[in-house]
Symmetry: C2
Subunit: 283 residues, 2 copies
DNA sequence: CAAAGCTGTATTATTCATCATACAGGTTCC
DNA sequence: GGAACCTGTATGATGAATAATACAGCTTTG
C-alpha cells in the first residue's frame, strides 16, 4: 500500500501549461483560460491553479494583468546563450574572458573511483578538485566541477584558476591537449547546484561531462558541468555527407559561423528566433 | 506570505543522495549511512528518508538488504545508450538492438507560429504533425514530435510512418536534405511525455530540436525529441585542429565506432565533496 | 549465542498543501 | 453606466505528507 507520491498538483498543472505554451498550442500574446476555467478543467482548486501560474510567471512564460487575464509572454525575446558544438572549446575560452567566474571550492585529495578511472590515474594518485560558477551579466548559468591530476594542478594557483580558463592553464604547464570526449545529458538540480545557480531544487539542468586527454592517452582534465537550460543550450549545424548507400549527418565544420546568421533567419526551433538581446560576447 | 513551495522533503533527500552517489562520494558497493543516521543528519523523519531511498531503489541506484543496509548499486553495469552526435540513429542499429516505434498521434493542421516560422512556411500553410515513441528492447526512451509540410507528408501513409524512419520517407518524396540545425537542451517531463516514457511527472529530460532543410533553404522537417537521460545520452569525440594561434576543438569525424572508450567514459558523475565526511564507509 | 545494528512495518499526532468559498478591485464590452 | 468577466486576496475546512514512536525480523560482529 504505497501512496504513489503524487508530487504536488500545482507542479503538475505548471508542467502541463508550460508544455502547451512551448508547443505553441497557446500562441504568444494569447490569453489562456481564466483561473476558474483551468481549475475546473483539471479538477483542482483555484488556489492550486494560481500557484502553477505563479511559477509560470516567475519563469517569464506568462504575464498576468489584474482584471484582464493571463497572457502568454512572447518568449522569443529572451533566448539562452547558444554554444556552438562544432567549435566547443574555443567558444568556451572566448566566454571565459567575457564572463565572470566565482570559485566556490579548491583543494587537493583522493578522487573517487570513477574519476580516477576516467583520468587513467594509478591508485592513490591525487587530484585537484575545483568547483566554479560562471556568470554572464552577473547571472549564474553554469556550475563546473573539475578534476585535474595533481602534478598539473600544482603548476597554477588558486587565484589563477579564478581568473583564467582552466584549459589555458593546463596547456601552460607544458601538456598538449589533443583529444577529448564529452557526453551531454540531463539531470535535476540538487541542493548545492540549485543554490549556486539560483534555482529551485529539482529544476532541470543540462549536463556536460568532458574528459581531455594528452597525446599519450592520459586524462588531464575531467569536467562536469551543469547548465541552466534557460540560459544555455548547445547548438550545431549538420550537413549531409557520404554516398547514397551510407548517408550520414556530420557536424558542419569550418563554416562561417558569424553569429549574425541567427539574426535574420532563426534556426533554433522551440524557442527560436529573433535575437533581440542575449548574447553578445562582450558585456 | 508565500510559503516558498518547498517541494517534498523526500524529493530533496533523494536528490541529495543521488548527487553523492553519482559524484562517487559513496563508492559503488559501499554501504550508505543507516536510515536513522540519515534522518538525523538531514533533520527529517525516518519515514521521509525511507521514501527517498524508495526512489533511489526504483532508479536502480541503490540496493537494500533487510537487516544489513542500503548499498550503492554498481551503476556501471547499466549505462544509457550513447548516441554519437554525428551519426545519431544508425548507431543504435549497429548495436544490434531492436528499436520499435509506436505512433501515438497523426494528423494535419495549422502549425503554431513558431513551427511555421522555423520551417519557413507561408501563413495558412498546413503541416502534418505526428507524435511517436521509440522503444529499445521494449522500453521507451524517446518521445518524438515532428512537423512536416503538408505537401511532403501526403506522400506517405500513417502506416509507413510507423514503420520507417521519417527522413527516409521525406527523401523518397523527392526532396533532398542537405543541411540541418539542431539544439540540445533540458526540460522537465510534462504529463504526456511522462506517461509515454514511463516516468514520473517532473523527471528530467534531454531535448533535441532539429530542423532539416532542403537545398533551397525551406524547412522540410521540424523534430522535437525528448529523451530519457537514463537511457539515452549524446556523446562526441573532439580533436584539436588548427594552428597554434587559432586552436580549436572540432568533432572527430569518421571515428571508429568500436572505440571502447565510449562505453566507459560516458559515465557522468561527480561533484565535489567539500564536506569530506562520508565516503569512508568501508565494508 | 547474544548483542548491536540494520531494514521492514504499523500507529498516532502534527504540519502543510489543497480545497471551497467569499469578496475586493480592475478590465472589457454592450 | 453597468453587467460580466478577470486577477488579487483572505478565510476556515479538509486531506495528504511528514514526524515521532514502537516493534518485528534479519544480518553482522564479537
Amino acid at each position: 500500500m504505497k501512496s504513489a507520491v503524487e508530487p504536488l498538483k500545482a507542479r503538475r498543472i505548471y508542467l502541463l501549461l508550460r508544455d502547451r505554451i512551448v508547443a505553441g498550442e497557446l500562441p504568444p500574446g494569447g490569453r489562456l483560460p481564466g483561473e476558474p476555467a483551468l481549475a475546473a478543467e483539471h479538477a483542482v482548486s483555484r488556489v492550486t491553479v494560481r500557484r502553477a501560474l505563479d511559477l509560470l510567471e516567475k519563469e517569464g512564460l506568462v504575464q498576468r494583468k489584474a482584471g484582464s487575464g493571463t497572457f502568454v509572454h512572447d518568449t522569443r525575446a529572451v533566448r539562452p546563450i547558444v554554444a556552438d558544438l562544432s567549435n566547443v572549446l574555443s567558444h568556451l575560452i572566448d566566454m571565459g574572458r567575457s564572463t565572470d567566474v566565482k570559485l566556490l571550492s579548491f583543494g587537493y585529495g583522493i578522487p573517487s573511483e570513477s574519476i580516477a578511472e576516467s583520468l587513467g590515474l594509478k591508485p592513490g594518485e591525487r587530484v585537484q578538485r575545483s568547483v566554479r560558477v560562471r556568470l554572464i551579466d552577473g547571472e549564474p548559468f553554469s556550475y563546473l566541477t573539475t578534476h585535474v591530476p595533481e602534478w598539473i594542478g600544482l603548476t597554477y594557483s588558486e587565484a589563477e584558476l579564478a581568473a583564467r580558463p582552466l584549459l589555458e592553464l593546463i596547456e601552460r604547464s607544458g601538456v598538449t591537449t589533443e583529444r577529448a570526449t564529452q557526453a551531454i545529458n540531463a539531470t535535476l538540480a540538487g541542493p548545492e547546484a540549485a543554490a549556486a545557480l539560483d534555482l529551485e531544487i529539482g529544476s532541470p539542468l543540462l549536463t556536460l561531462t568532458r574528459i581531455v586527454y594528452e597525446p599519450s592517452g592520459r586524462g588531464v582534465e575531467h569536467l562536469h558541468a551543469l547548465y541552466r537550460p534557460d540560459r544555455y543550450s548547445f547548438h550545431m549545424d549538420l550537413v549531409r555527407t557520404g554516398n547514397d548507400g551510407e548517408r550520414r549527418w556530420s557536424p558542419a565544420l569550418g563554416w562561417p559561423r558569424t553569429d549574425k546568421s541567427k539574426t535574420d533567419k532563426s534556426k533554433l526551433g522551440e524557442k527560436p528566433t529573433r535575437s533581440t538581446r542575449a548574447i553578445k560576447q562582450r558585456s
